[in-house]
């Protein structure tokens, strides 16, 4: 008998076991937020000091005034904007038409294209950059030599170590991002809008110009801002191609200031540069979210079953196929082939009969096994530990944000979103400064694998939270409420209802995070010492000493080791039915 009166006999309820899990999850979410906040706080703090580890700091504005008075700063800003703009133009020019071809025409073998794009997205950026170095270097670049020989040129026509060259390479490697984001836009667009235009007498081209592109525009703009921001923060390509030629973008300039040509790192200056970069990135993100929020205002339909009009390519089909094939051969296959070539050579040289003679396995055989094994070991630890912690924290954060009634849950959501906006090099610097200035005495993790774990986890938390959020929103709240009503405490609801339903998304986030941890170069570049080298850092170290042969060999080993992980990824992706995401 249920009553809401005060007339009946009162009997207090019997005591029940306390429900601990909510506290644990709130605790985990708070820890994650504190980690994000403290990383950012340490940069902010040190940018206003003349910081040296171990010495009481003095507060000053000098870091900022110096930065803005230095002409180099403006040169770097100019380089970075030019680089990011070139990146965007190249990626958009190739990725957008491809997205349309795959989503809206009878292009053959769409699945294969998607698969290839996923591979392209995961190929370590520094290996591809290395390949391009061997193709377009003015001294030994294969393409340069070919052209000089063909046309009898006196000097190399291309130099990849320029802003334009680097932008092109970065653009080719970010084409998959534009492709994937734009295909989502084309896929979710209501085809009846185009049909209506065709019925009103517009031709295919007119329809595209007057309906398709304007409707898809917010989505395309969002993708463009996203890619521009990635380009702005990119490290791999400018580091491999530009630094030797003393052409710096912001990320590499920050790195350069950590390891100046002579003397000690200027911690305060590095923090100030990072602050500047951070502010720019935050502005880009704000713009991006604004555009994205506006996007649904256009008639973008989701969930409704419809069949988009498929454009017949007809006699243009071979041209379209050639376009896609050329991209993959030129942008992805050729650089990797160049790695194979370079890994067999004793020293870098143009393609020639003599060079063919000198091909050997020496670079592979002479690799130091202990260094490689240490790299493999550390990378393996990161690939298991990082996604596990990141996904667990993401689950806790999503639960707190979406399911709990905690007062500060909006703040939790904000902090979980923050890492998404922050350039990786800034994260890396933040962790470095935190370890040196704050944690040095309390928790000496500098030089260990754990500082990498910390920064990897914090950096990936936005992505993982987005995955678990999306999945949890799709779980009807009543499924959990019913479990509660039928007697399950929070732990029971979690174990029997929520976890089984979220498992596909969590597995997907886990493996994607593992793959990104595998190919990561920017995060460890500041934090690595001899003890916590990752495999990517082994390549980096070899490139730094101009040992291009062995560097290529290790980079190739990395690409090779990726294959079994990729197979695992596809198995998961197919079984869970979740589309790839960036």
């Amino acid at each position: 008998m249920a009553t809401v009166t005060e007339t009946l006999v009162r009997r207090p309820a019997p005591a029940h076991a306390p429900d601990l899990l909510p506290t644990v999850m709130i605790g985990a979410a708070v820890v994650a937020c504190v980690a994000v906040a403290s990383l950012l706080a340490v940069i902010l703090w040190l940018s206003f000091t003349d910081g040296t580890p171990g010495i009481e700091p003095e507060y000053t504005l000098a870091n900022f005034t110096n930065m803005f008075l230095d002409k180099v700063t403006y040169l770097v800003i100019g380089n970075t904007l030019g680089f990011a703009a070139t990146t965007l133009c190249v990626a958009l020019a190739i990725g957008l038409p491809m997205a349309w071809l795959i989503e809206r025409t009878d292009f053959p073998g769409k699945r294969v294209v998607f698969t290839l794009f996923t591979v392209a997205l995961l190929l370590p950026g520094f290996s591809v950059a290395l390949g391009w170095l061997f193709l377009l270097n003015p001294r030994v670049g294969a393409i340069n030599h070919l052209l000089m020989w063909l046309f009898g040129l006196g000097e190399a026509p291309f130099n990849v170590s320029t802003v334009l060259g680097m932008g092109m390479v970065e653009g080719l490697s970010l084409t998959p991002v534009i492709f994937i984001m734009c295909s989502v836009v084309f896929r979710s667009m209501d085809a009846s809008l185009e049909e209506a235009a065709r019925m009103s007498g517009a031709s295919l081209i007119q329809t595209m110009r007057r309906v398709t592109l304007p409707v898809a525009w917010p989505g395309i703009l969002a993708a463009s801002i996203y890619v521009f921001a990635i380009g702005f923060a990119a490290f791999d390509v400018p580091a491999i191609l530009g630094m030797s030629n003393r052409i710096y973008t912001f990320s590499t300039y920050v790195y350069h200031n950590i390891n100046p040509d002579g003397g000690l790192p200027e911690y305060g200056a590095v923090a100030a540069l990072s602050m500047f970069m951070l502010s720019f990135a935050v502005l880009m993100t704000l713009w991006y979210s604004r555009v994205q929020r506006q996007a649904p205002r256009y008639a973008i339909v989701t969930g409704k079953a419809y069949r988009p009009v498929i454009v017949r390519l007809g006699r243009h089909k071979p041209v379209a196929v050639a376009f896609v094939v050329t991209y993959f051969v030129l942008a992805q296959l050729l650089p990797v082939l160049m790695l194979v070539w370079a890994s067999g050579l004793p020293y870098l040289q143009p393609i020639s009969a003599a060079a063919f003679e000198s091909l050997s396995w020496r670079n592979y055989l002479e690799l130091q096994p202990d260094v490689i094994l240490l790299g493999v070991g550390n990378t393996s630890i990161l690939m298991v530990v990082v996604p596990t912690i990141a996904v667990a924290l993401a689950l806790a954060i999503s639960w707190v944000v979406l399911r709990s009634k905690l007062k500060g849950r909006a703040a939790v959501e904000f902090f979980a979103f923050l890492p998404h906006t922050i350039p990786p090099i800034v994260f890396s610097v933040a962790a470095w400064l935190l370890a040196l200035f704050v944690l040095a005495d309390v928790l000496p993790i500098y030089g260990t694998i754990w500082i990498l774990v910390l920064v990897y986890v914090v950096q990936r938390i936005s992505y993982c939270t987005r995955m678990t959020n999306t999945a949890m929103i799709q779980v009807h709240k009543e499924l959990e409420e019913s479990a509660t009503i039928f007697g399950a405490p929070t732990a029971g609801v979690m174990r029997r209802v929520l976890l089984p339903l979220l498992l596909p998304a969590m597995m997907y986030a886990w493996i994607w995070t593992a793959l990104l941890a595998y190919r990561e170069l920017t995060l460890p570049v500041v934090l690595t010492t001899s003890g916590n080298q990752t495999l990517s850092m082994v390549v980096w170290g070899l490139v730094q000493t101009s040992a291009f042969g062995p560097a290529s060999a290790v980079a190739l080993i990395m690409v090779g080791l990726m294959i079994p992980i990729l197979i695992l990824y596809w198995t998961v992706a197919r079984r869970t039915g979740i589309a790839p995401a960036g």
């Binding site: 009162r10 207090p12 009543e478 019913s482 029971g492």
Partner: protein, 359 residues
């Protein structure tokens, strides 16, 4: 009990007090946003009221004064959700067995299987134990949700618009079946709906809610036959309203008092339930099925002459609108009657069916 929703100053439930007797089928009826679902969720423990007291049986599960709060999983309540909330990753058996896992003491395997089988045969789903839950039809999922709600023999059964996701024909069948089942098991039931027909056909007692308050409580015949407010009369069934002024009243003391009122269509003698006095502005409510119609003019009491404005054939009845001095009166007739637009008719409003309601 009061409940203030978290995000706004709006009070979803402003002072609801209900008492459900053992084995009673009690319905909360009201338009969306009236607070009926919030009330139900407070009983379930899914929402926490701001003040008040909730008892299940003789156990206090919530009391703001002594700060008692029993978590929903410890309330031993059965519930059918609007979406059914059937767990898609479990089989039919696992869904029904779920509440048994958390019983104290936990039943043994054989006993569990027996209880699940009984619950499933109760809702005519016997033999489907091993089927994955998403492979059931909408009607079957609804039955499954019911079996799950009943399997642990809860103290109270809460039903949150359980029929709203079924198609019309199935809904009609389930209305009767559901009521029959809970009455047979003698389960105390709290049912929430916005469908008047469900409330009228299924409840022992029903309460009409509006803006977080209970407007009227009573047996379905009372609520339909003698609504206490224009809101209730309008929300449940169709009603003609006439603005009126009380001219005189008599029959004080007896339970059926008489009031003479002036309306735009002429003077009427009406039944009076409230306490309006001479000169008060009131509203007269007459159900369309209670109005009598005759061709031509009439001199009887409580009659008025007018012209047919519209006739709509609905199969089982004839729905027509009669215009009397600008007032449009709806009348429901047997479909065999022949009427056409423009016919001169007169309407009689039987005194016992004309209700005086406060304006």
């Amino acid at each position: 009990m009061t409940y203030r929703s978290a995000d706004t100053e709006h009070q979803a439930v402003r002072g609801v007090s209900i008492e459900i007797k053992q084995g009673q089928f009690y319905t909360l009826l009201g338009p969306s946003g009236c607070g009926k679902t919030t009330t139900l969720r407070c009983v379930a423990g899914l929402e926490r009221p701001d003040s008040g007291q909730i008892m299940v049986g003789d156990e206090i599960v919530y009391d703001s004064a002594s700060n008692i709060w029993v978590a929903p999983n410890n309330r031993h309540i059965g519930m059918v959700f609007q979406s059914y909330a059937i767990w898609p990753h479990m089989t039919v058996f696992e869904n029904v067995a779920f509440p048994l896992r958390y019983l104290k003491p936990k039943p043994r395997r054989a006993e569990m299987r027996e209880k699940v089988r009984n619950a499933l045969s109760l809702v005519q789903l016997g033999g489907l134990e091993d089927r994955p839950a998403p492979f059931l039809s909408g009607g079957q999922q609804q039955r499954l949700a019911l079996a799950r709600a009943l399997v642990a023999e809860p103290r109270v059964l809460l039903l949150d618009e359980p029929l709203s996701n079924l198609d019309a024909k199935l809904r009609e069948e389930m209305r009767l079946e559901l009521r029959e089942l809970v009455k047979r098991l003698n389960v105390t039931t709290l049912f929430v709906t916005h469908e008047q027909i469900e409330a009228l056909t299924m409840s022992d007692v029903m309460a009409v809610m509006k803006d977080g308050l209970i407007v009227q409580e009573g047996r379905p015949t009372e609520i339909y036959g003698a609504p206490g407010q224009t809101f209730v009369a309008d929300f449940i069934g169709k009603t003609n309203f006439l603005k009126a002024k009380v001219v005189s009243r008599d029959g004080a003391g007896s339970n059926m008092r008489l009031a003479r009122v002036d309306t735009p269509i002429g003077p009427l003698a009406c039944r009076m339930a409230g306490d309006a006095v001479q000169g008060d502005a009131v509203t007269i409510a007459v159900r369309p099925e209670n109005v009598e119609i005759k061709a031509g003019a009439s001199t009887e009491d409580n009659s008025a002459a007018g012209e047919v404005d519209a006739v709509v054939y609905l199969g089982n009845l004839l729905d027509c609108v009669v215009n009397i001095r600008g007032e449009r009166i709806r009348v429901q007739l047997h479909p065999s009657q022949t009427l056409a637009k423009g016919d001169k008719v007169s309407l009689r409003f039987p005194m016992e069916h004309c209700l005086v309601l406060p304006s």
